[in-house]
């Protein structure tokens, strides 16, 4: 009975952490929308960046609670390790959002208007990707044999990462053809890289989930 309660608590806290990371991602999307919108005041950007940082701190706290809750559960040590690995990777998404927001604010950076659409597209795909990841993590706890049989859900995450890759490559090509100094072009490219890294992290988490499933395959 106690073990069952502890097991449920792990699942609840894991879900909480994923939701907190998702909140951070949503805050980051709002922040980016503001930075790509003409005329947004710097103070507004600062405030939105603060909200991203706040969401990241909450996600950090959730991660710690989730890791603490693993002690005393009936989960095997290898499963605990795998769950911690997935949770810390999810936390890296929040860290990445916070870092990118900070860099944009510190450097008072603005994406050129012509790139706004592509930048928002990247973030939108990444959010969709994360929503699928959230679903698969829940399935991992609740019905992993289904996920094992039909891993289309994980394939979808990879397909979206490929879409992000295509946008990223096109942006790089355009950026390095711009008529501006190399430092500025590199700065824009670096900002694009921050955004696309999030999609890569989500894909890596999907890979980790698939490995977890395959090693449990009878």
């Amino acid at each position: 009975m106690i073990a069952k309660k502890k097991n449920n608590r792990v699942q609840d806290l894991f879900t909480d952490q994923i939701k907190d990371v998702e909140t951070c991602l949503i805050q980051f999307e709002s922040f980016l929308l503001a930075t790509t919108t003409k005329g947004t005041a710097f103070e507004t950007m600062q405030a939105l960046s603060g909200a991203v940082a706040q969401a990241e701190a909450t996600a950090d706290e959730s991660l710690r609670r989730m890791i603490d809750s693993l002690a005393g559960t009936s989960l095997l040590p290898s499963t605990r390790e795998e769950l911690i690995e997935i949770a810390t990777s999810c936390d890296r998404i929040a860290n990445k959002c916070e870092h990118a927001a900070n860099m944009i604010v510190f450097q008072r950076f603005r994406f050129p208007e012509s790139y706004a659409q592509d930048v928002m597209k990247i973030v939108s795909i990444t959010r969709e990707q994360f929503a699928i990841l959230k679903k698969s993590v829940l399935q991992l706890f609740m019905n992993f044999s289904e996920l094992l049989k039909d891993h289309k859900i994980l394939d979808d995450i990879r397909a979206q990462e490929s879409q992000v890759d295509v946008i990223e490559q096109n942006l790089y090509k355009q950026i390095f053809q711009l008529d501006m100094g190399l430092a500025e072009r590199t700065q824009i490219a670096k900002m694009v890289e921050y955004l696309c890294d999030i999609s890569d992290i989500i894909e890596n988490i999907a890979d980790k989930i698939q490995i977890m499933l395959i090693t449990r395959k009878a």
Partner: protein
């Protein structure tokens, strides 16, 4: 009392068997940290003793039969004569115990040398090989009568080389197939999967430990047993329990390294297949004991079971390379032990003739 020091070779044999065979029961579980090492060795030690106490004495007679026809243990004629004349009994007791000491020392040395050289080795097969090696010198195998008496027994032992892994392979195949067909899909949550794996490893490891107690406890002390008093031990159950204690001490003192090595090499199969393989091994070993009254190699059974489990996924998925390794052990363990014992028999012929 000093005569009881001759038990040392059998106890050493039991100890080394314990350090090796524990890996077959809990190696994968410990190597993958499903079960803690301390928990595993406690379960193994207790259940080996339980197996030895409850059913361990079952195959003493069969091993004694092989040993008697190979002149390791006293024949009925010698015993009858000693029962008439008590002064002969002491000499007979000492000679029987000395021969048992030599056989176990040679088998033990074989296990030690081959383990040192990193060759796969089977303790049970080494004992059988040593008994036959002694017989090749003392029982005069060129005599058709002696040969006729021994051939069926040797054939029976040799047949276990095929029947043991084959049986384990078939049982393992069935267990894994049935599990995949009827049970795998019912385990839907991560927690239930982990719980299932943990209980599975504990139950299969406990069962395997019991089967090792039944199968091997007597084989490391049987040659010291004679119900009429013509050897060191006269109580069959006590003989098995002493063997069980020696094996348990091996498990408790020196099994970790072998457990980690064996466990990691078998861990390529899935976690659920892992404990089904151990159950198949334990069932086979107990069946062999029930049907053929012969102590068999648990390592052979494990290899057969691993291959059986692999076959459920198709022939291409099976690593038949493991066969090569175990085939070396099947041939080399009894051969080396036999040759070694033959040489010792040659060197000590003046005393025993």
């Amino acid at each position: 009392m000093a005569i009881y020091l001759l038990l040392a070779a059998g106890l050493f044999m039991g100890w080394s068997l314990g350090t090796n065979d524990a890996a077959n029961a809990f190696g994968t579980a410990v190597a993958t940290r499903v079960v803690k090492y301390r928990t595993a060795v406690t379960i193994i030690a207790v259940l080996i003793l339980a197996g030895a106490f409850l059913q361990g004495s079952g195959n003493i007679d069969k091993l004694a039969e092989l040993a008697t026809s190979n002149k390791v243990m006293a024949g009925q004629g010698e015993i009858d004569a000693a029962l008439q004349d008590s002064s002969l009994m002491e000499t007979l007791r000492l000679k029987s115990a000395l021969k048992a000491f030599i056989i176990f020392a040679c088998a033990g040395l074989t296990v030690f040398i081959m383990s040192y050289l990193k060759f796969p080795v089977s303790a049970n097969q080494s004992i059988t090989g040593a008994i036959i090696g002694w017989g090749l010198f003392h029982a005069n195998y060129s005599d058709p009568e002696v040969l006729a008496e021994n051939l069926p027994q040797i054939g029976k032992f040799a047949s276990t080389w095929i029947l043991n892994p084959l049986g384990a392979g078939i049982i393992s195949f069935l267990l894994v197939f049935l599990f995949n067909r009827f049970l795998a899909d019912r385990i839907t949550t991560l927690h239930s999967y982990d719980k299932f794996v943990k209980i599975g490893y504990l139950a299969s490891g406990a069962f395997a430990s019991y089967s090792i107690g039944v199968n091997s406890s007597a084989s490391v002390t049987a040659l010291y047993y004679d119900a009429n008093g013509a050897n060191l031990l006269t109580n069959a159950r006590l003989t098995a329990v002493i063997g069980g204690i020696a094996i348990a001490v091996g498990v408790l003192t020196f099994s970790k390294r072998v457990m980690m090595t064996v466990g990691s090499s078998i861990a390529e199969i899935s976690q659920t297949d892992g404990f089904l393989v151990i159950i198949a091994m334990a069932i086979t070993v107990l069946l062999m004991e029930k049907l053929m009254h012969i102590p068999v190699s648990t390592s052979q059974a494990v290899v057969g079971a691993v291959i059986g489990a692999g076959l459920t996924k198709g022939v291409k998925k099976v690593n038949f390379g493991v066969f090569k390794r175990i085939a070396i052990a099947w041939v080399s363990s009894p051969t080396v032990a036999g040759l070694l014992t033959y040489l010792v028999a040659l060197a000590t012929q003046a005393y025993f003739k």
